[in-house]
């Protein structure tokens, strides 16, 4: 009998737990530890954030699903990993602090034979003074944040309808943020809502991003083959901004936010201040606060985790310049070095470096999008780690790990640019692979499978994925046939 513990119940953690429960017999246990009792389809939060969807359409309670699937659920925050166990038991253990209201603050220690760390990000609003719902901007990172964003956005529309001009800033709130795609989606959904409300001409809409150029999306941009010519995601994205009349500021690091003013530095080292009436700025991500201890209680956090709090896996973390980055630097199995029973997937694993070229301003400020590792790649990594564990339980601990490097994995990214079954629009992109491999492809990616299209069909795809992935996450009949 083996006990498998999964930390986190987001896209990665939940996917891993479902596959583990499907593949492992009842003699084994699967336990999910998550501080939240609800699952959230985060890609649709942008629609909640403009009032096009209700919170209940993007979340559902995890408890009933886990009861049905025979998965134990601990509503708790994991605070420490003990890979060597403790004085009482040499098996690995995780220290948790319960977060469900009935037992809030109670601590416990859960033993494991295998562990998947899929804790997702810590939303580091504190990295920028005044950033976030406790400061002077809104966010769509969680469903509750998005509900608040929608409420404030409604007020903006009401003011516009009264004839008051408004400046709306959407983007990222720090030079090292990731998820620029979500900010891109939000700005065009805001634009669409303003048009539908008949007040677009009174609003100034500005996209503020750390990307050195539009269309980078944290993946270094893309090169597309189009009508016999190569074009870039930069040209394609700039076209959309021009068409919609959305202004853009690129290569920006937000330094601090005051009421209705955002202060930022750009790659040329200049400092700027911009007045706003409404701002949705995403925070940078960090690893959650997890410590690690050996059997004697000595702190070994730095052995398991990188300084940014993400867990080290089978990547090459040697510091080297951009020109020396290679596809082989990226992890394949997501196994924590030295521990063949511990894995980190999704945002929880420490990437070896960025994907986009990192840049610094003349003042030394790092302005470099962090690599995205959410959505499709996150689910694939989770399934890969889960199946490695299943193999090792069923065939023996020496069974080689399965692999799914982001340099050999494709991804579809569908960025909504407005809703409506007849009038919606989205930028629908596919890329193969996610992390470019210049040793295989001159442009870093296979141009046959790296494409970008804009149109109503993109909205249909985004809506289809919304319903498909919620169906899958609910573990309804045939859920496992829907690919990650």
């Amino acid at each position: 009998m083996s006990d498998v513990v999964v930390l986190g119940a987001g896209i990665a953690g939940h996917t891993a737990a479902l596959h583990l429960s499907r593949k492992l017999g009842q003699e084994h246990t699967v336990t999910v530890v998550s501080p939240n009792s609800y699952w959230n389809w985060i890609p649709s939060n942008i629609w909640v954030g403009v009032g096009k969807m209700k919170r209940k359409q993007v979340v559902f309670p995890l408890g009933p699903i886990y009861r049905k699937k025979g998965i134990s659920f601990e509503q708790a925050e994991a605070v420490a990993i003990r890979p060597y166990g403790d004085a009482e038991d040499p098996r690995g253990a995780v220290d948790i602090v319960r977060t469900d209201p009935a037992q809030a603050g109670e601590t416990d220690r859960i033993r494991f034979d295998y562990l998947i760390n899929a804790t997702g990000p810590k939303l580091k609003f504190s990295a920028t003074e005044g950033l976030g719902p406790d400061g002077f901007t809104v966010s769509v990172c969680t469903a509750d944040h998005a509900v608040e964003a929608a409420a404030q956005f409604r007020e903006v529309i009401a003011k516009l309808k009264r004839g008051q001009r408004q400046t709306i800033v959407v983007g990222v709130g720090h030079g090292t943020c990731t998820c620029e795609g979500a900010a891109f989606e939000y700005v065009f959904n805001v634009d669409t809502e303003l048009r539908d409300a008949g007040v677009r001409d009174l609003a100034r809409v500005i996209y503020l991003t750390n990307e050195a150029e539009l269309g980078d999306f944290g993946v270094g941009g893309m090169v597309f083959d189009e009508h016999g010519y190569q074009t870039t995601s930069k040209i394609w994205t700039e076209s959309l901004f021009r068409e919609r009349g959305v202004e853009a500021i690129a290569g920006a690091h937000v330094e601090r936010i005051e009421p209705n003013i955002v202060h930022f530095e750009t790659l040329d080292g200049e400092h700027h201040s911009l007045e706003f009436d409404y701002a949705m700025l995403l925070p940078p991500f960090g690893g959650v606060d997890l410590a690690a201890y050996d059997r004697d209680g000595n702190d070994i956090t730095s052995e398991l985790f990188a300084p940014n709090g993400f867990m080290k896996v089978d990547a090459d973390y040697t510091a080297k310049p951009y020109e020396q980055w290679r596809a082989e630097d990226w992890p394949k199995t997501y196994e924590c070095p030295g521990f063949d029973n511990i894995f980190a997937v999704g945002i929880a694993f420490a990437p070896p470096h960025q994907i986009s070229r990192p840049r610094k301003s003349p003042n030394g400020t790092l302005i470099a999008p962090a690599p995205p590792r959410t959505g499709m790649p996150s689910g694939v990594m989770a399934k890969t780690a889960a199946l490695t564990i299943v193999d090792r339980i069923q065939k023996g601990k020496a069974t080689p790990a399965r692999d799914a490097s982001m340099t050999e994995m494709g991804a579809a990214c569908v960025a909504s640019a407005g809703t409506g079954l007849r009038s919606g629009s989205a930028a629908a992109m596919t890329m193969m692979p996610v992390v470019p491999d210049y040793s295989k492809y001159p442009t870093g990616r296979d141009t046959k499978d790296t494409r970008g299209e804009l149109g109503l069909h993109g909205h249909w795809v985004k809506l289809m994925l919304h319903y498909l992935f919620i169906y899958k996450a609910k573990g309804l009949p045939g859920w496992f046939l829907i690919p990650e």
């Binding site: 500005i206 021009r242 040329d268 201040s273 007045e275 579809a412 299209e453 149109g455």
Partner: protein
């Protein structure tokens, strides 16, 4: 405080604008139904071709 003239906005004046034909295609139900099918097939190819 920056104003419109000092704010370092990206110069989009040379960005290509879609033609009328492209705009019509983006909204055409028949054309978009075809694009929808093709995009889904492309996603399936990504899944079968890559590590998934």
């Amino acid at each position: 405080m920056d104003d419109k003239t000092t704010l370092p906005t990206v110069d989009l004046t040379n960005a290509p604008l879609p033609t009328e034909k492209t705009l019509r295609h983006r909204k055409s139900l028949i054309g978009q139904a075809g694009s929808f099918v093709i995009f889904n097939l492309r996603m399936l190819r990504l899944i079968t071709k890559g590590k998934h």
